[in-house]
């Protein structure tokens, strides 16, 4: 039956600047200072090494379950660096590196995964939400924050992170729809790392890209090579500027790969072929960026070496300090902190009860 086509107001697009071999598309190359480029590079390295050390700590039983980010360094860092400090970042749970860039202390990360609520503290110098475990639910907070920014006429932007799996949840849809309707200054960063635990993105949606989903909400969507930090950065900067100047939201899909485990409780050999991992190893975002910086004459192997050593020392210090903190913290009554602005009488009594029971437990353990 002949029908008339409906034209989309926003045509989704795709972008890549630095290819798998580290060759740059000169036309698209963003102009960035050497200092900034090196800072990005160092930060990616730091993210990878910290992640490795966390895995190590977990395997030794020194912290609990955590979700490694290896392979996604460009995707999360390239996006978050487009923000100003006064902007807000609303993460999911796999953005440790982006959070560190924003001022999250690595000590707090270790504390958190070590089971200490204290690690959830948000440092005073940044406007970010703490990590959110319930998949996709945080995207709505970013929209609310962005609506509030607009209400306050602040030239600020909220950027939220989520995975490919998150796009299946109703909250993602409601967030996208609100963002479109209210033209909220929000940037949606989908780290499409191909997997949601054991579910490949092909079983997550029938659409060919995540980016094209933006069209249904009446705003632009773009797919970028998520292992190409220049592409992620360029697209994010454009989206942040658009949001800041009142032109509304953008969805950015970063095509990347979860090189490691879903969390340390996961065994990916149950559901994916190592060949796939190998293919993605050859697309490593750090190797590629390093090649680009070396070709550009910005980075020497010595500098890399120097960074590696600095980072090693730094992380060692972090681990030591956090393990020391873990020894000092942990008073059980502190779990009654931060429940309400003021602890109601009922909870004051329960805190006493809890302490009394706990002390008796300890005594009995020591004597029994």
């Amino acid at each position: 039956m002949p029908k008339k086509p409906i034209l989309f107001s926003h045509q989704p697009e795709s972008l890549s600047i630095l290819d798998e071999k580290g060759n740059v598309d000169k036309e698209l190359e963003p102009e960035l200072s050497e200092e900034f480029l090196l800072k990005l590079y160092r930060s990616m390295l730091q993210g990878r090494r910290f992640d490795e050390r966390m895995l190590n700590l977990q395997r030794q039983g020194r912290i609990g379950t955590f979700p490694p980010l290896v392979g996604q360094e460009a995707s999360q860092l390239g996006a978050v660096v487009a923000l100003e400090p006064s902007d807000w970042m609303v993460p999911a749970f796999r953005e440790a590196l982006a959070e560190i860039w924003r001022g999250k202390s690595m000590e707090n990360i270790i504390l958190y995964y070590g089971g200490y609520d204290e690690g959830g503290a948000v440092e005073e110098n940044r406007n970010d939400l703490p990590m959110a475990v319930p998949v996709s639910s945080q995207t709505l907070h970013a929209v609310g924050i962005a609506m509030a920014m607009k209400y306050r006429s602040k030239p600020e932007v909220a950027m939220t992170f989520f995975g490919d799996g998150a796009t299946s949840e109703g909250d993602f849809h409601e967030a996208m729809n609100f963002a479109g309707v209210f033209q909220a200054p929000v940037v949606f960063i989908c780290q499409n790392n191909q997997w949601a635990i054991s579910t490949p993105v092909s079983k997550q949606t029938r659409s060919e890209t995540i980016a094209e989903k933006a069209a249904g909400y009446g705003f632009p969507g773009i797919q970028v090579d998520g292992n190409d930090i220049l592409a992620v950065y360029s697209a994010s900067r454009e989206a942040v500027e658009r949001a800041r100047s009142g032109e509304g939201p953008t969805l950015i899909e970063c095509l990347t790969y979860r090189m490691g485990l879903h969390t340390t409780a996961d065994d990916p050999t149950k559901y994916r072929d190592n060949k796939e991992v190998e293919v993605w190893e050859s697309r490593d975002p750090i190797v590629r960026f390093q090649k680009y910086l070396q070709d550009k004459g910005v980075l020497s192997p010595e500098t890399t070496q120097q960074y590696e050593e600095e980072i090693k020392v730094e992380i060692q210090g972090v681990v030591e300090r956090s393990e020391q903190l873990m020894k000092e913290l942990g008073a059980p009554e502190d779990m009654f902190d931060h429940q309400y602005g003021e602890l109601p009488p009922l909870l004051l009594r329960q805190r006493e009860e809890m302490l009394a029971q706990w002390r008796l437990d300890q005594e009995e353990e020591n004597h029994g």
Partner: protein, 326 residues
């Protein structure tokens, strides 16, 4: 002082708080141009504009999730869920975030939002429009659960809820929206959250109720006195959770008897908690088991049968007399 319905009193509370504090903003389905399906937000969009009285798309999780973001940013959103029967669509946002962000961020953020929603039966409504499920919120740490029972206290509690630093679930007894009028002062009036009030003095038995069950409870108390010479002390919980049972326990120490009344289903209902507290705190003063007059543990019927489902003053009178063996 003007005589107002509960709808008018709530409207007054919202209007005055919005005038005083530009952090207060409203959002929800049909709260703006339409003034809310019960007209609680009537006229506010004309005064405050559509930036502060926001008609949202039809998405409860969207409304609550966005309100959480606004609250964290520093606003004081008051969101409306059109009927409490649709608040399950946003329950995960409340449980996972509104209730927890203060703790998760270790005090860096808090969520000073109010979720207003009409609840309860007795208005010949469609399915999903008559339930009374305050327990879901009362059993969720980090939330406060408030239910007013008349124009004046609904205004005072709403002001307190808006100023409260934590998320408050504010159930509005829809059968009382226009049931009666009360004097509501133009000047500011607040009521502390977390404290029940004694609404009638008595020495024979303690009656605990809240929301739309307050009028029949007070009527029952009248009948009990007039017809049976029984002096009933009546408490209006106002805050369901965090529940402070101090005054109620004190009363039962005096009366030795108690009856709890709620529309909510009986099993695992609010009455059970009151009974448990009385068991824990004044067991040795109890001269007879505490009784509950409640909704039954079934799906709320369509309105042809709602009268048989709902607690009424007769059932309350009977329960009191049985408890006293009178």
């Amino acid at each position: 002082m003007a005589k107002m319905t509960m709808v008018q009193a709530l409207n007054l509370a919202l209007r005055q708080e919005m005038e005083k504090d530009d952090r207060v903003i409203l959002l929800g389905e049909d709260v703006g141009v339409d003034g809310g399906v019960f007209r609680v937000t009537d006229g506010l969009i004309d005064t405050f504009g559509d930036e502060r009285v926001i008609d949202t798309p039809l998405a409860e999780s969207g409304i609550v999730g966005a309100a959480i973001g606004m609250a964290v940013y520093g606003l004081r959103p008051v969101c409306e869920i059109q009927f409490s029967g649709f608040a399950y669509f946003n329950f995960h946002q409340l449980e996972s975030h509104a209730a927890r962000l203060r703790h998760r961020s270790q005090g860096r953020y808090h969520v000073p939002m109010v979720l207003r929603t009409p609840y309860g039966g007795g208005v010949r409504a469609l399915e999903h429009h008559s339930e009374s499920r305050e327990v879901y919120y009362a059993h969720t740490p980090g939330l406060k659960m408030v239910i007013p029972s008349g124009p004046r206290n609904s205004r005072a509690l709403m002001v307190s809820a808006i100023r409260d630093p934590d998320p408050v679930i504010f159930f509005e007894p829809k059968s009382l929206y226009r049931a009666f009028r009360e004097e509501v002062p133009e000047e500011e009036e607040t009521l502390p959250l977390g404290v029940p009030v004694k609404v009638r003095e008595g020495r024979d038995i303690t009656l605990v109720a809240y929301g739309a069950m307050i009028p029949p409870s007070l009527e029952a108390a009248e009948i009990l006195k007039a017809e049976h010479g029984i002096e009933t002390e009546v408490f209006d919980l106002l805050t369901i959770s965090p529940l402070d049972d101090t005054l109620i326990a004190e009363s039962v120490r005096k009366t030795g008897h108690a009856v709890v009344v709620h529309e909510a289903h009986r099993s695992f209902g609010p009455g059970a908690e009151i009974m448990a507290r009385l068991m824990e705190n004044v067991f040795y003063f109890l001269e007879a088991p505490v009784k509950r007059v409640t909704g039954y543990d079934i799906i709320y019927p369509l309105f042809a049968r709602e009268k048989a489902y709902m607690p009424n003053r007769k059932r309350i009178v009977r329960a009191v007399r049985e408890t006293l063996g009178s």
